[in-house]
């Protein structure tokens, strides 16, 4: 007994084995096959026969997937931007760690406090990375709406991982800070601006991780949340730290202000270079 849904699932798997990036593109191809199948059945073909004819007319799924993959390939410039962003985030973590270690000797003498600072720093940098990558993708889409589908999907992949790291590491850092505060001050939570800020960051990026891991058909929502999440990280770090007249906090604020500025400028500069240098796609048409 022929089952259309089973046949479609098998056919989908063939395409997805060669290319599985875009749920919307799959839905479009499936819609075509369903319409062809319905037309052939209407013309008097038996269902199984109609399906066989429809798939033959549709062509080799692997070859079609290969052509789609070529069209949706991420441009060299966009790849370069994403690599630079990740590289810049890692470099800043290294520099910041080195600066903090040299300036504030209390960190090295208190392992728990040092673990808290390092963990929450990593979490916030991951959050900023997600935000800058998302802001870049949004900016590219606004400047030149065409040819950004591949970039948006690649950015979503960065945002997915970075949001998990941001929420997870910030949570661990928050808990370590609470344990340290309990030991030092006798209370784990004082509801000070830094703690409230950290809680907001944890909640925002945990929500983003859930949205982004559901592989949404539209990348708009997760990218917008990620970009806003960056503002939250800056507010939590820079804003809260500047409210306390604490030397280490001020240093953190300066470090993160500089990080955000340099990443933002790098993304902006590369976006402009990308716009000027990216040659139009004038490859020879694949044969339909």
């Amino acid at each position: 007994m022929f089952e259309l849904e089973t046949a479609i699932n098998q056919w989908r798997r063939q395409i997805e084995s060669a290319w599985r990036r875009d749920a919307a593109a799959m839905a479009e191809l499936e819609d075509h096959l369903r319409e062809e199948f319905a037309a052939l059945v209407h013309a008097g073909h038996a269902e199984e026969d109609a399906w066989r004819l429809a798939t033959v007319k549709f062509g080799d799924p692997t070859a079609i997937a290969g052509e789609l993959a070529k069209v949706h390939r991420l441009s060299t410039a966009d790849r370069a931007v994403l690599v630079v962003m990740v590289g810049a985030a890692l470099s800043v973590i290294g520099v910041l760690g080195w600066v903090l270690r040299g300036v504030d000797s209390s960190l090295t003498s208190q392992p728990l406090l040092a673990s808290h600072v390092v963990t929450i720093t990593l979490g916030y940098v991951a959050g900023l990375l997600a935000a800058v990558a998302a802001a870049y993708a949004i900016m590219r889409t606004l400047v030149r709406p065409a040819s950004t589908a591949a970039l948006q999907h690649a950015t979503l992949a960065v945002v997915r991982s970075a949001s998990v790291a941001a929420s997870g590491l910030s949570l661990v850092g928050f808990v370590l800070g609470a344990v340290w505060a309990q030991d030092e001050w006798g209370r784990a939570f004082s509801a000070d601006p830094k703690e409230i800020g950290a809680l907001f960051v944890i909640i925002a990026f945990a929500s983003l991780a859930i949205v982004a891991w559901r592989r949404p058909a539209s990348t708009r929502m997760p990218l917008a949340i990620a970009a806003c999440g960056g503002g939250l990280v800056l507010a939590a770090w820079f804003g809260a730290a500047s409210m306390t007249a604490d030397g280490a906090a001020l240093l953190q604020a300066i470090g993160f202000g500089g990080l955000a500025l340099s990443l933002g400028l790098a993304a902006l500069a590369l976006a402009i270079i990308d716009r000027r240098c990216d040659a139009p796609l004038e490859r020879r048409a694949p044969l339909p």
Partner: protein
């Protein structure tokens, strides 16, 4: 490629984008309907391998020549409709000019079969 008229592959490939842009310049449409319309217009002599139309549509969209929008079809399923953009109309005008040059030259040659070259 299944082709009744045995058109050369290169000719089919070269005519695909002008055909798509021409059809979309008459109004928005979707993949399956575009294929049926080309078949109808060519008297079944241009038969594309259906699935290979989609990479072409996606590339035209990426180039900013056409745009797409999901709408609800009469079947109750969502369907992706394409429409032509300003850059697409410009590309179509250029393609028309180029095809006319070839067409005019061939017509001149073929209308005077006794002229030796």
């Amino acid at each position: 490629m299944h082709n009744i008229a045995m058109l050369q592959k290169e000719l089919i490939a070269a005519s695909t984008e002008p055909l798509i842009l021409s059809l979309l310049s008459q109004g928005e449409s979707y993949g399956y309907a575009l294929i049926q319309r080309v078949r109808e217009l060519s008297g079944d002599k241009i038969q594309w391998t259906d699935g290979m139309l989609y990479p072409v549509l996606h590339r035209l969209e990426r180039q900013g020549r056409i745009k797409s929008q999901w709408k609800m079809a009469e079947t109750g399923r969502k369907r992706k409709y394409y429409s032509i953009l300003k850059d697409g109309r410009a590309a179509l005008a250029e393609a028309k000019e180029q095809w006319r040059i070839v067409d005019d030259a061939l017509k001149l040659l073929w209308s005077a079969p006794h002229v030796r070259t």
